[in-house]
């Protein structure tokens, strides 16, 4: 059932939860999480939020997201650790990962070699991110 069922006053497309693509946001930046949750829900995505790599890993196991948005610089388990854990458990490559990072003095090639699908430097444009999610999500 992919049809749009209703349109609410702020223009959010209402589709059943089963049909919504799930986006897992792993970032410690709370305003960013709030912004992404609001914007992605308006575009019909189901949004899962995690504050670090540890929470992200748990959410990944439980909710099986279609796309992961990942910050690299986070407290506790950071984005690099998260990618490494995925690599160790053989989960890397199963879900498209978009790295959102203000710390791109790191070599983008090194990030992409970790199995990341795309890199978006902060601050980024929301429409660009949404296009990327649409393009990458199965």
């Amino acid at each position: 059932m992919n049809e749009v069922q209703a349109q609410n006053p702020v223009g959010e497309k209402r589709i059943s939860d089963v049909d919504r693509k799930r986006v897992l946001v792993i970032d410690d930046d709370m305003p960013l999480r709030g912004m992404l949750a609001a914007a992605l829900r308006q575009h019909g995505f189901q949004v899962l939020l995690a504050g670090d790599g540890e929470e992200g890993q748990r959410a990944l196991k439980i909710h099986h997201p279609n796309v992961i948005l990942l910050d690299l610089a986070m407290p506790k388990v950071n984005g690099w650790d998260f990618l490494q854990r995925l690599q160790e458990t053989g989960h890397l490559g199963h879900v498209p990962i978009i790295v959102l990072s203000a710390h791109l003095h790191v070599d983008p090639q090194a990030v992409l070699q970790m199995g990341v699908s795309a890199i978006l430097p902060k601050p980024f444009n929301l429409p660009e991110l949404i296009d990327l999610i649409e393009h990458l999500s199965p």
Binding site: P9, V10, G11, M30, R33, A38, P123, F124
Partner: protein, 212 residues
């Protein structure tokens, strides 16, 4: 806009919100600037979330996130925004870099920060902002300025404001921090108050001109 005030708890807070909306022209001015834009709005120093609630009441649909360092106010804002789409409030530091490009609002915020912090906030806003709305009282030595200072100092003593300092910006310090990439205009925003408030509207542009 009595509908907005009705969402706040009875008593002082509801009266405060009702009075703010009735006497302060900045909410309508902000709406007029933002209307038609689909870009997300970051409301820095959102307090109890009046602007976000007001924008929704006026039919503004873009995502809005309000941040404030005061957890008490954020809790109030979160409560009143329950069920309101694409409007959220979180405790955060105004000096943090901004991750998403969009419209940025700073109402009565800068004067709580030292000069260097004000510059950092404006630098971050300049990096991510497409339109930046700044309302603050301007330090120009006028009677209005002195009244504003006295009122803020009183609010701090009363505990409503958790501010460590009062450091009102000058017109020049705001304009210079955002020079270059933005066109800007400055409007008096006195309303029915004795305070020395001005609204600075910065719009990203390659031209960088000024209207007064």
């Amino acid at each position: 806009m009595s509908g907005v005030a009705q969402k706040y708890p009875r008593g002082f807070l509801r009266s405060y919100v009702r009075a703010k909306l009735a006497t302060d022209p900045v909410y309508d001015a902000a709406f007029e600037c933002l209307r038609g834009s689909e870009l997300p709005v970051l409301d820095i120093g959102c307090g109890v979330g009046i602007l976000g609630m007001y924008l929704r009441e006026r039919g503004f649909t873009a995502p809005i996130v309000g941040i404030d360092h005061d957890a008490r106010k954020i809790r109030v804002a979160q409560r009143v925004a329950i069920g309101v789409e694409a409007l959220s409030f979180v405790v955060s530091d105004a000096r943090r870099p901004i991750s998403v490009r969009g419209n940025i609002v700073l109402l009565d915020v800068l004067h709580y920060f030292a000069n260097e912090d004000q510059k950092a906030i404006l630098r971050n806003a300049a990096e991510a902002g497409v339109m930046i709305l700044i309302r603050d009282a301007i330090r120009d030595g006028s009677l209005r300025y002195r009244l504003t200072y006295a009122q803020e100092a009183f609010a701090r003593i009363g505990g409503w404001l958790k501010a460590e300092q009062l450091n009102f910006p000058t017109r020049e310090s705001i304009a210079q921090s955002l020079n270059g990439d933005f066109e800007h205009e400055v409007r008096p925003m006195f309303g029915r108050s004795p305070f020395n408030n001005y609204l600075f509207v910065f719009r990203r542009s390659s031209a960088g001109t000024t209207k007064e």
